[in-house]
Amino acid sequence: MKCQYACQTMDHVIARRTFLGGLVGFGSAMGLAGIASPLAASQLAAQQKHMLVIFLHGGVSQLETWDPKPKTDTGGPFRAISTSVPGIQISELLPHTAKQMHRMALIRSINTKENDHGKGRICMETGRREMPGFTYPHLGAVAAKLLTHESNPLPGFIRVGGGNGVNKKDAAYLGPQYASVTLGDGKPPANSLRPDSISALADAARNDFRRRVSDRFALRRRAAETEAYVQSYEQAQRLMERRDVFDISLESPSIQEKYGNHEFGRHCLLARRLIEHGVSFVQVGHSNYDTHYENFNFHIEQLGEFDATFAFLLQDLHDRGLLEKTLVVVMSEFGRTPKINERYGRDHWGSAWSIAMAGCGIQHGAVIGKTNDNGTQVVDREVHHGHLFHTYLRAVGLDPTESFTLNGRPMPVADPAVSAIKELLA
């Protein structure tokens, strides 16, 4: 969705840093994508909170993770193991994670009714179904807008892994300043070092010149695109100033080893550093779980990599005092069919699946909902992406029933037809 700016107040033409100079000014200056004032109060209270999403691309199997059904017709070959919470069992593929269950909660009753990768992902990341001609902001953009402290020089929404650059679509009507910045290979952004051939003085001068030209241009021809253009330069400047944050080699060899000598391990370590340095929302991907063939062998491979790293990530966040102010969510676009196909695969399944959460704002050791004996149906406390979206925001101290304003119209932060899973909240 195009983010249009009808408002031509002077607030819009000031530099980004000045723009972020005061929270109240920020809210009122947002014009079409502003925020109603009552929400500002909860925003302030929640500003020290963070969200970390681990997205298991392709659709991880709930039966091989959070809701095992051993020795049933759908259960597959894996057994269930006990966890650090008496009475809760998860798949034997997650022995390290099992020891962190007292910091986690499971939701085993998700029915999104969505079996398409793209649409499922939109459901889980925006809390709403895809709507033709309209885009809702990504959870990360919402968190970037509502949780980011004005003094933090880093972007509010960072994706680790995947493509490169700024993803404007994530922010939708919130505006490009809340779009995600992707660190494609988990390293500091490319070209984020000032070339030796340009002195610091010359660099500052040329940036100052660029800003003045941009501001003058924006006085008459401001649009989302020009805003994104300016924003990308400013974002790059801030990233260059804090390049050290992205450098995981500054961590001890011991810590690096515990996260794992593989891409997912390095990305999770970077995510922890980003959270530590105040980034509001970080998303790390782990690929891939779209196992239509040989589901069991591939889940051994993929979860073998996920398990130890994820468990240590929780431990590390806890040890550093970060877990108490960070909500961690492990999600996919959907789960996988209970029925095992002829090729030892499981297919797409949005009707009865699970996610895991950890960290702040939730009841640790809770299990929400239930599926039947072989996992083909939700039989208790059915929820969908909308309930989850509310719950995430509540867990970090935000009020999802408030609204943004778009062209003077209220835009509910989360789907007003549903509410948070109250029994899961701390």
Partner: protein, 348 residues
């Protein structure tokens, strides 16, 4: 030459259960067929038909089944890591010995030609050797860098071959447990960069009777690991040279994987295939890369075994059935038995 004729191959009996099968083996006397099912049970069928008999003891799928040379003892390895001994013909085939053999799946079990040793292969990247009469562990062969998919004794009884997910083949001497050689069969392994996962390994493994050829069955030309887009293949290895001498493939690029391989005493190789393009039994001669004969199966095959008589085949299927095939020429079979039409055993 035997009375077996690949061109005559046809189904003669369906052994039915209520869960998909993943494995099948004839016992050494050829009296029974054992099958591992997706409900974590091992089932025993009389080759002549009848009700299946459950063989308890495993908590997970059983793909590794082997027998003592006289057929009296059955060894089964499960994805629960257990290795179980039982009397093959017992009315209630309860475990007589259970060992937690591997940390993770037991993927294969093999019996030495003299019956004295068992070799198991597991997801802990190890080969382990066991005394068959006491269950005592007598060797641990380390060196594989990924899950060990299969293991087989050389016919001389002094050597082992094993193959892992990366299709790294290891040659071991049993007396000292030392690795002698390692060679990789690149055609049977792919790292799928899109899905970031390895696919490969020997799903079936066999030496010929002379010990000069090793056959490895798997999947090649994989373009999409998670959808199983690849072609069934069998790599034939010159054991002395440690080099691939043939890569057997179907004439058409059919989607699937080879799940079992057997050398027939007459010299040809038999494989079973299952995948997106259905199921086939292929018969290969070393001189040609494509099959000399093939049989279309009603459903994809998941495992294969050759009866000790060299005339019958068992194939495990997803549709809850182990199908028995005969390769005996029809006129000969009719003379010996009037009972050559497919028969269904009762569903348990």
């Amino acid at each position: 030459m035997s009375q077996a004729d690949p061109k005559a191959t046809r189904v003669v009996r369906e052994l039915k259960y209520n869960s998909p099968f993943i494995s099948c083996r004839f016992d050494s006397q050829g009296r029974y067929v054992f099958g591992g099912a997706q409900d974590c049970t091992l089932q025993r069928f009389d080759v002549a038909g009848g009700e299946p008999v459950e063989c308890p003891g495993h908590d997970s799928w059983v793909r590794a089944i082997a027998f003592s040379p006289d057929g009296e003892i059955t060894y089964s390895g499960g994805f629960d890591g257990r290795l179980i001994w039982r009397e093959t013909a017992a009315a209630k085939p309860e475990p007589i010995r259970t060992i937690d053999a591997h940390d993770g799946w037991v993927r294969a079990v093999a019996v030495s030609p003299d019956g004295q040793l068992l070799a198991t292969a597991g997801n802990d990247r190890l080969i382990k050797l066991w005394k068959s009469d006491t269950g005592e562990q007598v060797g641990e062969l380390a060196g594989h860098e990924s899950h060990v998919y299969n293991v087989v004794f050389h016919p001389d009884g002094k050597e082992l071959a094993s193959c892992d997910l990366h299709c790294s083949v290891r040659h071991w001497t049993i007396a000292d447990g030392k690795p002698q050689r390692e060679f990789k069969i690149a055609e049977l392994h792919t790292y799928d960069k899109t899905f970031r996962a390895d696919i490969g390994g020997a799903r079936g493994i066999a030496f010929n009777a002379a010990g000069t050829r090793l056959a490895l069955g798997g999947i090649t030309n994989v373009s999409n690991a998670f959808a199983g887009v690849g072609n069934a293949a069998v790599a034939l290895i010159d054991w002395q040279e440690g080099k691939q001498v043939q890569l057997f493939k179907p004439k058409e690029d059919l989607r699937g994987s080879t799940w079992g391989v057997e050398f027939h005493p007459d010299g040809y190789l038999i494989s079973v295939v299952g995948g997106g393009s259905g199921g086939f039994i292929y018969f290969f001669d070393e001189k040609a890369a494509t099959p000399q004969d093939e049989v279309k199966l009603p459903r994809p095959g998941r495992d294969l075994d050759l009866h000790p008589d060299g005339l019958q085949l068992a194939v495990a299927h997803f549709d809850n059935v182990i199908r028995l095939y005969t390769m005996q020429k029809e006129e000969k079979a009719e003379a010996e038995s009037k009972d050559d039409k497919p028969q269904e055993t009762a569903k348990k």
